[in-house]
């Protein structure tokens, strides 16, 4: 009698275990499936653009100016313009962002300035990009009288990029073990020497990652450059930083909506070049970050 009871109990418990395992398997499948769904859109977008645009890509497409009302020729002025703007954005954003990140991570106490800086960063991140464009128009193009120019566009994009770069750079700096700072200061190093020699060298890969991610976003933005720098069509390349330039995202917008009889292939080709440019920046950032994680030895 006793034995039967205990056998029953064991069978019941066995059944329960089976049921739990089944549920577990279902959960695994569902969760994996959902995660897979996230990958799907990006693959589809890339494939779609690639298949439709690859035919347009040629050496001439990359190096020639547009011809015949932009319906023929290449995208060289727009590509060059975007590279120039990305570079300009870096010049504006990198010193400001790294300075702010060092302040926030190393110097900031709980005071009013710190709270204002953090509030500013959060709000900068929340501003729609078209508002940056309007701000750039009012501030740089008109008030500071830079005109519609590479300077005005770079400043606008640079400010827009600040929050991303500041946050990633601050994280990278905070990730350096506190111990390094303590030891360095115990040896008589000043705060700045400590930051310079024992903190920044370890944070640099993370900071670079943030910078590249920020720049890749800037490279693809249309709204901020709409009123500040981008030209519909220019017969000549910019001669100085106070000239307008064509730029890939705006060029894409123009040929997709404003030019009648635009061959689809050129549109997709332009989109593909922009996509590859941004993706390769992101890829570089990822490689640097992976390398950094592997090399980190504390």
């Amino acid at each position: 009698m006793n034995t039967t009871k205990s056998t029953d109990a064991r069978t019941n418990s066995h059944r329960r275990t089976l049921k739990r395992q089944q549920t577990n398997q279902i959960a695994t499948v569902v969760i994996t499936g959902v995660a897979g769904l996230v990958v799907l859109p990006i693959i589809l977008v890339i494939l779609y653009i690639f298949i439709n645009g690859i035919g347009a890509i040629s050496w001439e497409f990359l190096t020639a100016k547009p011809r015949n009302g932009m319906t023929e020729g290449g995208i060289m002025p727009a590509l060059l313009g975007t590279l120039l703007l990305t570079f300009g954005t870096g010049i504006v954003c990198i010193p400001l962002a790294i300075g702010a990140a060092i302040y926030l991570a190393e110097y900031a106490g709980d005071n009013r300035l710190t709270r204002w800086v953090r509030l500013a960063i959060v709000n900068l991140a929340g501003i729609p990009s078209i508002v940056y464009g309007l701000f750039g128009l009012g501030m740089f193009v008109l008030f500071l009288n830079f005109g519609t120019s590479i300077v005005a566009g770079s400043l606008t994009l640079g400010i827009m990029t600040l929050p991303v770069v500041i946050s990633t750079a601050e994280e990278a700096i905070l990730a350096v073990p506190q111990e390094f700072r303590v030891v360095s200061q115990s040896l008589g190093a000043t705060r700045w020497q400590t930051i310079r020699h024992q903190v920044l060298p370890h944070a640099i890969p993370g900071i670079i990652t943030g910078v590249i991610l920020g720049l890749s976003r800037a490279a693809g933005e249309t709204a901020p450059i709409l009123f500040t720098v981008a030209a519909f069509y220019l017969p000549d390349l910019p001669q100085s930083v106070f000239d307008q330039t064509m730029a890939l995202p705006y060029h894409l917008y123009v040929i997709a909506t404003q030019v009648p009889g635009m061959p689809l292939e050129i549109q997709y080709g332009t989109a593909l070049v922009l996509l590859l440019l941004v993706l390769s920046l992101t890829l570089i950032a990822t490689v640097i970050r992976t390398n950094m994680r592997r090399r980190r030895d504390w």
Partner: protein, 256 residues
């Protein structure tokens, strides 16, 4: 262990220390003598490490802390308003509980202090590095791999490297915060021998949880309890005939 009549290296007078509202050190009075090893013992949280970090003002880096009273180094109050903390930390070096070399080469670890303090002239850096490593008893083990990462050394070697790094800036006092607690007995013994040798040049203050270590290496011992210095005397006296019952209870309790 002659009782010196000269001015003590470090003179502590009515020293109090607070973490916000918490009164961590209460009315400390003691004198630390030149070229002696002073051991600080007591249970965890009794304030001995806080006191140690008060001597090179590393507590300053923690927000919400406050010091009252006087700690004199060679007769000068290190908490006076005009004191340069950076210079103080050069004179009062520190070795930490966990061996914590920078993730750099052995050479760069030792060279860091002299470099940032501007002690390098006419290419004397290699010689300074060699001297420091020799002082720390590590030169022979690492002289052929100075460019290798310091993290490849074993914990005992790493801790001696940290000592070399501290010695390299030519301090007058070396503070050691449980320097052997992460080391095995053999490595511990080596560090203890090293401390005896270093005491010929430097004044050493060591915090330790290890009674035997305090008894073996130190000239004087202070017993901390709940933020107070219960007893401070020559090490022999503390361990054989302590004045206070509390001291005896702690020492014997831990011995068993």
């Amino acid at each position: 262990m002659a009782t010196k009549m000269t001015q003590p290296k470090i003179q502590v007078q009515d020293f109090n220390f607070f973490y916000d509202e918490f009164h961590a050190l209460i009315d400390l009075n003691l004198a630390i003598q030149q070229n002696e090893i002073t051991a600080l013992i007591g249970p965890s949280g009794c304030g001995k490490s806080t006191f140690l970090r008060a001597i090179n003002r590393m507590n300053d880096t923690i927000s919400g802390t406050r010091a009252e009273g006087v700690i004199k180094l060679d007769g000068e109050d290190i908490y006076a308003p005009d004191v340069d903390v950076v210079e103080l930390r050069q004179r009062v070096g520190m070795v930490f509980q966990r061996p914590n070399p920078f993730p750099q080469s052995i050479y760069d670890n030792v060279a860091f202090g002299p470099r940032v303090l501007g002690m390098v002239h006419n290419g004397n850096l290699p010689q300074m590095v060699e001297e420091s490593l020799t002082d720390a008893g590590l030169w022979d083990e690492v002289k052929d791999r100075l460019k290798d990462s310091a993290l490849g050394l074993n914990p005992g070697q790493q801790q001696r490297l940290c000592i070399a790094r501290t010695v390299a800036v030519k301090p007058e006092v070396i503070l050691m915060d449980e320097p052997c607690s992460a080391l095995d007995p053999v490595a511990t013994l080596r560090v203890e021998e090293l401390m005896r040798k270093l005491a010929e040049t430097y004044t050493i203050v060591i915090v330790t949880h290890n009674m035997q270590q305090a008894a073996r290496v130190s000239d004087r011992t202070g017993f901390f309890w709940l933020g107070k210095l219960v007893e401070f005397d020559e090490t022999g006296t503390i361990f054989t005939s302590p004045r206070e019952a509390l001291t005896e209870a702690y020492i014997t309790g831990r011995r068993g």
